[in-house]
Symmetry: C2
Subunit: 185 residues, 2 copies
DNA sequence: ATAAGTCGTTCGCTGTACCGAACGGATGTA
DNA sequence: TACATCCGTTCGGTACAGCGAACGACTTAT
């Protein structure tokens, strides 16, 4: 979500899109949401500046999560082959991260394919507060987590932890790789 | 996000929490957001019903994604060992899904570890509109995607596609496994 | 001490988001 | 044809969100 420009147009579009997807009339949605249909009419036309209660009621009436009304539309299918895609390398450790998915423009969650070799540990500083990291092991063996309480993971293991405290990644075996979902909230 | 009860308390708490995290004064935040500090004062005290423009400006001023102001707080560290965790089995294909992470209470994204054997294909019906699926290959070989345009994936490949159209998973090799991030928006 | 700078709260005032009613247009049905 | 119902839009009235000013409480400097 772009934090720089007003979301009113997005909301207007979303309201109409979601309503038509549910095949509901404007009047019906207004009734379900307990708001005047005139209000909804104006909102859908892009005029107005709804307050939270109104928008919330509409999200419920349309049976969609709230943020669906305040975010841009979906993405297109997309494949990144092994070895392709934008990579992030680290000198600190033998380490390659491939950015697989990022939700533009104001990132909510990124997905990386990470490959680490057992040459020293990778220390990651704390990220933005509220970040949560999810690890799904693909191959090798990994020591990961907050500095004071790391865990060791094997293939198919999963771990998640808050990313806003100092933490690190250390490969314990060659050709260690894992999927990393980094969630910013 | 719980779509049943009003978010105003959540917002009030979030506003104060994020402001204190950034170590900013109420006056400062109000100034940055271009709103009256009296307004912010009332919002933080839980009184009021802000409109979208106001909330948006505050999100920008606090340097957090908008939805951070409308959602419940973070999660705790957590490990699920290979073989552990709640699983979903399918009779339709030789198929095991392990639910690794779900963001309570109104799900935004789930993370699964999926294991499939090459015995017929798994047809997944369309999910809720707006769902997006992300696949990171762990082992084996997988045919996946919309019915009319599937792709074949090998280890370390990645693919994403809209989950709200009919699509399927089919293992092309034994012991096929992958991480699946299912995103509801 | 007192003046000047914060801080966050409380107070009328004003603009406006929301409401309800009335409207014109489609469609259905006696 | 007239008479229902729907639909979505447009129009005044009103309650209230947001504003600026003033407030008391606290720090820091003079």
């Amino acid at each position: 979500m772009d934090p720089t420009k007003p979301p009113i147009d997005l909301i207007a579009a979303a309201l109409r899109r979601e309503r038509e997807r549910e095949k509901l009339s404007l009047s019906e949605v207004a009734k379900r949401a307990g708001i005047a249909k005139s209000t909804l009419s104006q909102l859908e036309s892009g005029a107005g500046n709804p307050n939270i209660e109104t928008l919330w009621a509409l999200a419920v009436a349309l049976n969609v999560p709230f943020s669906r009304l305040v975010e841009p539309p979906p993405t297109a299918p997309r494949v990144i082959r092994a070895g392709e895609g934008p990579t992030v390398k680290s000198g600190q450790a033998d380490f390659i991260g491939t950015l697989l998915a990022t939700s533009p423009p104001g990132v909510r969650r990124d997905i990386y394919l990470m490959r680490v070799e057992p040459v020293g540990a990778r220390k990651a500083d704390a990220h933005l507060a509220g970040t949560v990291e999810h690890v799904v092991m693909i191959s090798g063996r990994l020591r990961v987590g907050p500095e004071d309480s790391p865990v060791d993971l094997d293939v198919h293991d999963y771990a998640s932890f808050a990313g806003d405290v100092a933490h690190g990644y250390e490969a314990l075996a060659p050709h260690t790789s894992f999927a990393l979902v980094m969630e910013h909230r």
